[in-house]
């Protein structure tokens, strides 16, 4: 049995993640992540480069450990965050998927994304776009996410943004 992650399989996982976020299926979304997964959206250091070292430079979001994503989901679904309810309607479109590096059961996958957002509260529609860099790992017959880096290109945040809307 092969453990190499194919382009088809990688693409399928990325599309699945997008769908789970779009439809607020956060428990299933969390299941995609390994317990020690890294989730990282760097800030921009200047006009041309993002921050590179999350321990010495600021990120928009940085977590090591799925536990932190569980905290975020808890807040989002708690009913105690005015920014999170009613939720924005979002739709992720993912394209240009390619495997940048593959070694054993690990694959580094690059993709491009647009996340459209409709905020019903303000009757306001906008979008963010950028690149994803996923590190996928084939574990016990499933592909799971070891690392997700979100390079947000339009980084002037319109009011707020959360893990499901980037």
């Amino acid at each position: 049995m092969t453990t190499t992650i194919t382009l088809d399989a990688a693409q399928d996982l990325l599309h699945r993640e997008a769908h789970l976020l779009d439809t607020w299926q956060f428990d299933a979304w969390l299941d995609l992540y390994l317990p020690d997964a890294e989730f990282w959206m760097p800030a921009w250091r200047d006009e041309v480069s993002t921050t590179q070292d999350p321990d010495r430079e600021l990120s928009l979001i940085y977590y090591r450990g799925r536990r932190n994503l569980e905290d975020r989901v808890m807040r989002l679904t708690s009913g105690h965050s005015t920014a999170s309810w009613p939720p924005a309607r979002v739709l992720h479109l993912i394209s240009n998927v390619r495997i940048a590096r593959s070694e054993g059961q690990i694959a580094d996958v690059c993709s491009a994304f647009v996340c459209h957002r409709h905020d019903t509260r303000m009757n306001r529609t906008d979008y963010v776009f950028g690149r994803y860099e996923h590190r996928l790992s084939f574990e016990n017959g499933n592909i799971r996410i070891a690392r997700k880096k979100i390079i947000l290109l339009n980084d002037v945040i319109a009011t707020s943004s959360d893990i499901y809307s980037v």
């Binding site: 250091r45 010495r56 002037v156 707020s160 943004s161």
Partner: protein, 445 residues
């Protein structure tokens, strides 16, 4: 409308009310831009943003682009960031290093002291003598001043000296600047966001102790969960290690100080806790500055230097620059502020705490900014009835300071010492009295 139609300030009657129109009217907004943002001292940035000779950074005062640069001798200067030739914006980057700025439009060039160095094809240009008599250098801001690491400028010549403008509030800047022996810096990575509401909502929210347990219960629950199920993956929070802010806490928990010209502080007792990235310096800070001042550095402190600088030291440490774009649109530029030279572990902790709480992609700020937008929607077209959010603490506010401020010699105009549920709102009065003084003439014009 007269000023009294906007702000109903009658201390003798125990009344302070605000007309929602101050958040919605275009005429008020225009007056604010002219009289406050372009009519007096505003914060520009930190001196460490242009550390070395020929370093520069760019910013904005009201509608005008500003260039702050250090010349070859290391002297800082502030200029309108526009070429005198055709008015094109000159320096294009937020921050950089340039012994010479060459305008990308027609190649006029300027040194880092703002002097014109060359006009392309000058001799062939058949200029008149009158042109030669003009100064072709960059326009200097009428006023530019520095207090410690903090740089301020004014587009208007008729302003008090910076020291007089800041007054006693400089001691609150000292509490920031003195945390590191080598000064203060911005952690790399600027975060900018906008919200669809008036800039004064940000001004107020920073000073608003009343909203914390109402606006941020989802964040508080995350902290509780982190305490219950310890994991080394999560960052400690200074909120967990203090309880002055809780709805059932008792005793003196903090309060507010108001200074002339609209500078205010609200504060709470945090104590010297390992959850603070300053903890490793607790001993040395007490040695250098005394225990009282050291303890004040550890306290929760939200400072506004009117009109556009806020330094929030609560869950972590944030520097914010507020920029009004329209009556119902505001830009916030934000940074993690840190003492230079802190350890790698402390810096990491500061950054993690910051991201969770302060980022527009974090777990607290979105609930604030969405609330501002809810306010803006609630105001509708402006005046329907007076707002009632300026009344808490009315009978607790006293002239002068109190025993907590006295420990470090603070000399405010007014202060409130409070139990945790008081949540003073009279500190906003200081904002609006300064605001009213500044825009009175402009509104009548």
């Amino acid at each position: 409308m007269a000023l009294t139609d906007y702000i109903d300030d009658r201390p003798a009657d125990g009344v302070f009310r605000v007309n929602p129109a101050i958040f919605t009217d275009q005429s008020v907004f225009d007056a604010e831009i002219k009289a406050i943002f372009e009519g007096g001292w505003v914060f520009l940035g930190l001196s460490s943003q242009a550390e070395q000779p020929h370093d520069y950074f760019t910013t904005q005062i009201g509608r005008f682009p500003v260039l702050v640069q250090r010349d070859g001798q290391g002297e800082l200067g502030a200029f309108i960031n526009a070429c005198p030739h055709k008015g094109a914006r000159l320096a294009q980057l937020r921050q950089g290093h340039a012994p010479l700025h060459v305008c990308p439009y027609h190649s006029w060039s300027f040194d880092s002291a703002g002097r014109n160095k060359a006009i392309k094809s000058k001799r062939a240009g058949c200029y008149s003598a009158a042109f030669d008599q003009d100064d072709h250098g960059l326009a200097r801001l009428p006023h530019f001043g520095q207090y410690r690491d903090f740089l301020f400028g004014s587009l208007t010549a008729d302003v008090p000296p910076l020291a007089e403008y800041l007054g006693g509030a400089v001691q609150l800047l000292d509490l920031v600047a003195d945390q590191g022996e080598a000064g203060t810096e911005l952690v790399p990575g600027q975060v900018t966001f906008t919200y669809a509401a008036n800039w004064k909502l940000q001004l107020e929210n920073c000073s608003d102790a009343y909203h914390f347990t109402s606006t941020h219960p989802s964040y508080i629950r995350v902290l509780e969960r982190r305490q219950q199920t310890f994991s080394q993956d999560v960052v400690a929070s200074v909120w967990e290690n203090s309880d002055y802010w809780k709805d059932d806490a008792t005793g003196i928990g903090g309060g507010s100080f108001s200074f002339a010209n609209g500078h205010v502080l609200n504060w709470g007792v945090f104590g010297v806790t390992p959850a603070s990235p300053l903890f490793e310096q607790a001993g040395p800070l007490a040695e250098r500055h005394g225990e009282a001042k050291r303890d004040w550095m550890f306290n929760m402190r939200n400072l506004t230097i009117f009109p556009n600088l806020q330094i929030a030291e609560n869950a972590s440490s944030q520097l914010r620059i507020i920029r009004p774009l329209a009556p119902n649109l505001t830009e916030m530029r934000t940074w993690c502020l840190a003492p230079k030279g802190e350890s790698a572990a402390a810096r990491r902790q500061r950054i993690r705490q910051y991201e969770d709480f302060f980022n527009p992609t974090g777990m607290a700020t979105p609930d604030d900014t969405v609330s501002y937008e809810n306010c803006q929607m609630g105001y509708g077209g402006g005046m329907s009835r007076w707002l009632q959010g300026y009344a808490r603490g009315m009978t607790a506010s006293i002239a002068g300071g109190n025993r907590f401020g006295d420990l470090i010699g603070l000399g405010p105009e007014r202060s409130v010492l409070a139990d945790p549920q008081l949540c003073d709102e009279t500190l906003y009065h200081s904002y609006y009295r300064a605001w009213a003084n500044r825009i009175a003439q402009e509104l009548q014009a």
